[in-house]
Amino acid sequence: MADLGALFLQGSAVLGFIAVSAMYLVWLERKVSAVIQNRMGPMIVGWHGSLQTVADVVKLLLKENIVPTGVDKLAWWLAPFFVMVPPVMAFLCIPFGQKLIVNDLNVGILYIASVTSVCVLGIFMAGWGSNNKYSLLGGMRSAAQIISYEVPLLLSITLVVMHTGTLSMQGIVAAQAHGWFILKPGLALAFLVYLISATAEVNRVPFDIPEAESELGAGYHTEYTGMKFAIFFLSEYTNVFIVSSVAATLFLGGWQGPFLPPLVWFLLKVYGIIFFLMWVRWTLPRVRMDQMMAFAWKFLTPLALLNILVSGWALVK
């Protein structure tokens, strides 16, 4: 019974953290875009508009839930759950600190990579179920994109695993006690490859062709309204948090750092990476579909493979 209570507490802590974090990431995104474009951004609700997202969430909850005609009911209703559950599951082995981890699985990073790749299923279901050609196009693009960029992403993670010899997240953090992995040349390249593929993985600009506003409306979530749309949004920002925290754990030493408590160090690194992703988003234009696929298969994957070859040779030498 005590175990069940602890499980319940951990679960609610994770869910609460996800909700609050995603809410403030939306606010941060709007503020960063405003700062880059010399605007003010949200300013009215709360201090510098910090409660703007709360107001938006209330609005989305109160909105009518429209079901378009001819939707594939099962796929259409299940899709938001399929995109929301994997990122929540991935929180199981994100190390926020020495003890602040729900469960340190011995296959931690493999678990995160495999669970988050289920997301594409939900996105494709949303595209298929919506009975809308733009949604279908968005879903198909998303499937192609995420499957292509999974390869360099996993190859760059493989390099880290080769260095540490463990798949456990805490083990990877412990292996960086005497220097972050980003400081080693081969792993720095892996970090770059990881960051580029992670940007594509979470469908952000410059790789946001699944939801390209100007050509597809909003892609796979065009037909969704109210809370279902909010769930898609929530999952998107939770995914951003997941890929950033994996990057921080794998390459930037995780929660380790002097003076400040581990949790603060971890969140600083994660939000630093998120800020970088936002900065890139509001700077670069969207790439074309064929350019993007060519970049994944003709450049990023060979680069990651070559990196593994060279670094692996250096490891066993």
Binding site: V35, I36, Q37, N38, R39, M40, M43, W279, V280, W282, T283, L284
Partner: protein, 159 residues
Amino acid sequence: MFQKIKFFYLSIISILIGMRVTLKNMFVPRITLNYPIKKQSMKKKHRGMVDLIPPDCVICYQCIKICPVAALDLAHKQEVAADGKKVKEITKFTFNGELCCFCGLCEEICPTDAIYLSQMYEVSVFSHEDVLNIDLMDPKKYAHIDSAYSTPEKKPNKN
């Protein structure tokens, strides 16, 4: 091959240049204002809503005659005071904001600088009647737009 390498190199350089531009813009002062709370001050010669300083008006009817759209409406009565002098008094001076074309002719023609175009640029109102008959004699005539605004003692210097 060389062309491809050059193209790749130039692409990376251009991305970095773009990132530098946006980074620079993060530390530039904001261009937009937090509008309903902070308002932009207009140029001195801005032609906004018509305002009147009643004590300065000599009831010469010049503004009524020159107004191309007949947006102003003036009426007065004449009384003989105790010492035999004739005293004119305005009974009605209204301004129709719907007709006004903000040409500024009334301001130009006015011999005593009593009527002028203020800096008031927020001209939207909730009801149609609010804009039709604005009583120019009332110092708080624009209270429904800006509660802080009141007619000054003297026409502001526009040069």
